[in-house]
């Protein structure tokens, strides 16, 4: 029997597979397709203080090997997430979940973390300082060391749950941002969020998504994600949840070799709703193929030599 367990800040996961925020809703669409309790955990849709409809449609564009989304954090707001969604999650998922939060001010981040701190099923608070789809918020916190430091401090001051800072790849030096988060007390780093991308419809001569730009994700961004996880692993001591373009068990191994303790699967869930189940099923096979007994042994393995 191969051992696929990994641990994140004291939380042991049966396997490193975690659906990524925004691509798995609150889990129950997928619970109709397979028993989602096979997952390591899952990160639910980004939560904000107020209810948000998000950006105007169209919000989706096709790209070679990926897609652009400009959903813009559509969610019912923290009150309803806690009163309506969390109880529904509880019914279909027995393990700890990752609460992804997004704010437009330090105060909002703090408020959200405080509220999530009271939720028993929340195992990790994932702080999205990297959403490219909302103006005056989100990403700007993640593109500047000082703000990244401040958000981390603020969130850490109000929760005793592990705090993972989710970083934007749209920066000159990801190492500096990650280090600032670690210095401010972050328990881990999630990366990468989407790359900023754009498609233009040659027929209409207009941007495909109404918001013009959006977040580019899917297989196409995998090499950028692997590179950033590798760089951050060299820079910080806290665990990394790696993501960006993962769509197979082999990709999972590659991301872990770069330095990820666990991984998230995003866009792949949208084109293959069984993606996470398929990957979990394939993990033992590729472990056998590549002589991996304990999956956690390979974390950062590409840094040796």
């Amino acid at each position: 029997m191969v051992d696929t367990r990994v641990s994140l800040s004291g939380l042991t996961l049966d396997n490193p597979i975690i659906p990524a925020s925004g691509t798995f809703g609150y889990g129950y669409e997928f619970a109709n397709l397979y028993d989602i309790n096979i997952l390591g955990s899952f990160s639910f849709k980004g939560t904000t203080r107020e209810e948000r409809f998000g950006n105007p449609t169209p919000r989706i564009a096709e790209c070679t090997g990926g897609m652009i989304n400009s959903v813009g954090l559509q969610n019912p707001g923290i009150d309803k997430v806690i009163s309506e969604e969390m109880p529904k999650i509880k019914k279909c998922f027995k393990k700890k979940v990752i609460a992804n939060i997004s704010g437009f001010s330090l105060d909002e981040y703090k408020y959200l973390a405080e509220r999530m701190n009271g939720e028993k099923q929340v195992g990790i608070i994932e702080v999205n300082i990297s959403c490219p789809n909302v103006h005056n918020g989100g990403m700007s916190f993640g593109t500047d060391e000082k703000s990244a430091y401040e958000v981390t401090k603020a969130v850490k001051s109000v929760t005793d749950k592990p705090v993972y800072m989710k970083l934007s790849p749209n920066v000159t030096d990801i190492k500096k941002i990650a280090k600032a988060c670690e210095d401010a007390g972050a328990d881990g780093i999630s990366l990468i969020n989407t790359l900023m991308g754009m498609r233009i419809d040659v027929k209409t001569r207009k941007c495909v998504v109404a918001n013009k730009m959006g977040g580019f994700s899917g297989s196409a961004i995998f090499p950028v994600a692997v590179r950033m996880v590798y760089e951050v692993f060299d820079t910080v001591k806290i665990p990394i949840i790696g993501m960006g373009g993962i769509s197979s068990a082999k990709d999972v191994a590659e991301m872990m070799l770069a330095g990820a303790s666990a991984v998230q699967i995003g866009a792949a869930n949208l084109v293959n709703p069984y993606a996470c189940r398929d990957i979990i099923n394939d993990l033992p096979k590729i472990m056998k193929k590549y002589n991996i007994e304990k999956l956690s042994d390979i974390i950062g393995g590409a840094h040796n030599g």
Binding site: T57, I60, Q74
Partner: protein, 243 residues
């Protein structure tokens, strides 16, 4: 919803840029007209949503127009090729509503109306059908509706086939209907809502990420809050729509 491999039985051109594809596979979960399927094509990342035009549970008929890369690829497939399809998706039309209904299909909004029409006939209704196209070359399925034994009015914008004008021109002349079912380009749907005084159900299109409710890519605002076209739609009731 399930993911199923379908085998293509045939794929033929039935009008200008419009193809009819028939496939074999388990389509038994399709329960309502207006539901759609989401098709994976080699080399493309996102699936392509296409309405169910007809099904007997073991086979599937799709009618699609070539407008871009994906539909172009579809048109190149033939007997023996297979397709990875997610189905069934969407809410579909609620046929329990509206006794004397008009079915209004415009362009590639026509295909789902064929299954809708069959289902209405099955429960003893006798809808009137209006099909709108731009021009003669683009007309398809008029004969198939007629074979179902329903009154079928075809309009073309340039008058090259059937009645000259828009579907709303034809709709004006029908006096006795009390409900409508519509599918077509958004301007047509809006015109139908403006023209008709009755209630009705309309099917919408939106660019989709997943097609099954997970990504919030396809949301629209309705009078009852945000709805996902793929999951809470594509069929919406006239009364809830915010134009």
């Amino acid at each position: 919803m399930k993911r199923e491999i379908f085998m293509i039985e045939s794929n033929r051109k039935i009008a200008k840029n419009v193809y009819e594809m028939t496939l074999f596979g388990d389509a038994s979960e399709i329960s309502k007209p207006g539901q759609f399927v989401n098709i994976k094509l080699d080399g493309l990342y996102l699936r392509r949503p296409i309405s169910v035009c007809d099904t007997d549970g073991k086979s599937l008929t799709l009618v699609y127009k070539v407008v871009g890369e994906g539909t172009e690829k579809m048109s190149e497939l033939s007997h023996g090729n297979s397709l990875d399809i997610l189905l069934p998706l969407g809410n579909g039309y609620d046929i329990s509503k509206g006794e004397n209904s008009v079915i209004i299909g415009g362009g590639v909004g026509v295909p789902p109306m064929y299954m809708l029409c069959k289902k209405l006939l099955e429960i003893g209704r006798n809808p009137v059908v209006i099909l709108g196209f731009n021009t003669k070359d683009e007309v398809f399925y008029a004969d198939k509706f007629e074979k179902l034994g329903v009154k079928t009015i075809v309009t073309t914008a340039d008058g090259s086939f059937g009645k000259k004008g828009f579907v709303t021109d034809a709709l004006k002349e029908i006096k006795t209907y009390s409900y409508f079912f519509a599918c077509g380009p958004e301007p047509m749907l809006k015109a139908v809502c403006n023209e008709s005084k009755t209630s009705g159900q309309l099917s919408f299109e939106e660019r989709m990420g997943c097609g099954f409710g997970a990504c919030m890519g396809c949301s629209c605002k309705t009078k009852y809050g945000a709805k996902r076209i793929c999951k809470d739609g594509p069929v919406l009731e006239k009364e809830e729509i915010i134009w």
